[in-house]
Amino acid sequence: MKVWHFSEMAYPQAWDTGYEMGTFRVNVPNSHYDPKLGADIYHRHYDEFQLCDELGINIMLNEHHSTLTCLNPAITVSASILARITKNVRLLLLGNPIANRPDPVRVAEEMAMIDVISHGRLEMGLVKGAPYEIAPANMNPVRLMDRFWEAHDLILKAMSTHDGPFSWESEHYHYRQVNIWPRPWQSPHPPVWITALSPHSGRAIAERRHVAAALLSGGIASGMFNAYRERAAEQGWAAPNDRFAYCALVGVGNTEEEGRRRADKVAGYVRTSPIVAEPFKNPPGYNPTPVNVAALKTGPTQSVARVQTKDGRTVDPTKATVQEFMDARTVFAGTPDQVFEQIKTFNQEVGGFGNLIIMGQGGTLSYDETRANLQLFADEVMPRLGDLKMPENPYGEQAERNASAAQ
């Protein structure tokens, strides 16, 4: 199992304003942001990522816009810096919100540059983006996924075409001379990751054999991974566990109390992240029609999305305790032994996954505490993950049958 570390680079200094306004996104004036503090925050997180490089923990970055929970609105900027200042680990961008970016060829150029600068360490995540990203991007939420897949196809074609310009004239994008320089280090292109919530998305990702990532809710992971395995088998291949990723908040300590205390601070991320002004939560067309019909029937829109615990309880993430987050598998926390056991159990529950993304920093967890958290995880938990017993793929036989039938 590969391990990745992720931080949103939050700005907790303005969270009081977020709570007062009832929103952490889109409409909080940036007068509440101090660039001098902001500079320190960037350098602090880049230092933490450099520590990851030394510890052998791979790095994940993401981007959000107009928000005090994430100061990384241009993922390529941070990725470019890390491509230069790290030497060893892989760099996962999860990711580029390609349906919100007007120029996919530009995305391909940026990704190719980062791949070359990092000597082929790029993992290229492509994401739909959260509904509240629509307002800052002002891209049409209707038919968003059509645009997503067209951008996806164009980016991969731009990266893997080496015999001169090609033209692209389709519904969303028009180019006459696509011929990117540089081309990526990795061939035919850096590995592609996509985040997903639903089994439907899991199937779509399986059809392209990309890595499918589930974030912060154990309930999402098992259904989505299973749908992926099933679709892969229908197409005659057994999906290996390296096609699956799960992201959880992690607090590890020398005592259970210390681990949980760290997780509690990291959880500031999930407690603030869903607080969004009502108009920007769910623009029409972002979700499928039946989903919105169902939402109307349940009455006034819930203020935030809920997470589900293993035994079916729903939890309000803005108020949840560490224990509740642990019940939802949003958090792994405690001593190294306890955290390892939680990961081991979860791995069995979801049928195995090859990539664990830990949010080892979030919310108000300080620089020193973050370093201690990452160090302890690298020393005491990570070495044991390599030997983790993986469950058998229940669709393995079906995959073989379909593969031989196809020959």
Binding site: A135, M139, N140, V142, E278, P284, T289, P290, L296
Partner: protein, 261 residues
């Protein structure tokens, strides 16, 4: 009250059409929330006109062809529909979003129409680049949307809890279609103002006095951009006068385009 609706196919697109009344023909194009709430006005109009009220592609239960993505598509659909219904010298009436579609139809061809009536129509821009003419309802809380749209917000309330799945689906599809066609540029076509000079039939621009979506000032400018257009105010009405003041709206239209005018 529910309208009697038939299913018709126009140029390969299957849509709902409510047809009622007798008299000179009148084609009514609905606003962003479909026909719901405008039944009383349509029935009043049906006392003087043969009324045709389609549900535009993408709205309600009408099909949305994959190729449709802009108001141009709806304008050509509207012209095909007028041909399909064999309209002659009809009154073309459009409210809110439907007013935008009607204006786009009228700059293309008025061959089947005798009059154009725009009611609190969207579709044009007059302000500078930092001044939005059309209220961004996608940045408003639900309660504020009602305040922007109605002189009396209680008139626009829909009892969602008692609606069928079918009704809710139509409501959700209305909002999706409005976003598909009107997201960017926001509910207008930057070029439309330049072409309004092509409207070569008598035009009436009707406006709700308390419209918080597009102001009466915007309505006056809209009328001024159409050669010879009249501008009239409907009192005690917001963005949907045909919902809030159905009789008054029908009266204005009848006086302008009815058989006795």
């Amino acid at each position: 009250m529910a309208l009697t609706v038939e299913r018709i196919e126009v140029a390969g697109v299957s849509v709902d059409l409510a047809a009622m009344g007798a008299g000179p023909p009148l084609l009514f194009l609905h606003g962003g929330f479909g026909l719901a709430g405008h039944e009383a006005c349509l029935e009043k109009l049906a006392e003087s006109f043969q009324v045709f009220a389609p549900t535009l592609p993408g709205f309600g239960h009408s099909d949305l062809p994959r190729s449709y993505s802009t108001v141009d598509d709806l304008a050509y659909f509207g012209l095909d529909l007028a041909a399909h219904l064999n309209l002659k010298n009809a009154a073309l009436v459009g409210a809110c979003f439907g007013g935008w579609v009607a204006a786009e139809m009228a700059i293309r061809s008025t061959s089947r129409f005798g009059q154009l009536v725009l009611i609190d129509a969207l579709g044009v821009k007059f302000g500078d680049r930092l001044t939005r003419d059309i209220t961004d309802i996608h940045a408003l809380y639900q309660a504020d949307i009602a305040k922007a749209l109605y002189a009396d917000p209680t008139r626009g309330q829909r009892d969602v809890a008692s609606m069928s799945d079918e009704g809710l689906t139509a409501m959700v599809r209305d909002s999706e279609a409005l976003v598909l066609f009107g997201w960017k540029p926001y509910l207008h076509n930057p070029k439309l103002t330049n072409w309004l000079h092509r409207v070569d039939i008598p035009a009436l621009v009707l406006w709700g006095e308390q419209d918080g979506m597009v102001s009466t000032d915007y309505g006056r400018k809209y009328a001024a951009a159409i050669p010879g257009a009249r501008f009239e105010i409907v009192g005690d009405a917001g963005h949907y006068p045909s919902l809030e003041q159905p009789d008054a709206v029908a009266g204005h239209i009848n006086a302008f385009a009815g058989a006795n005018t």
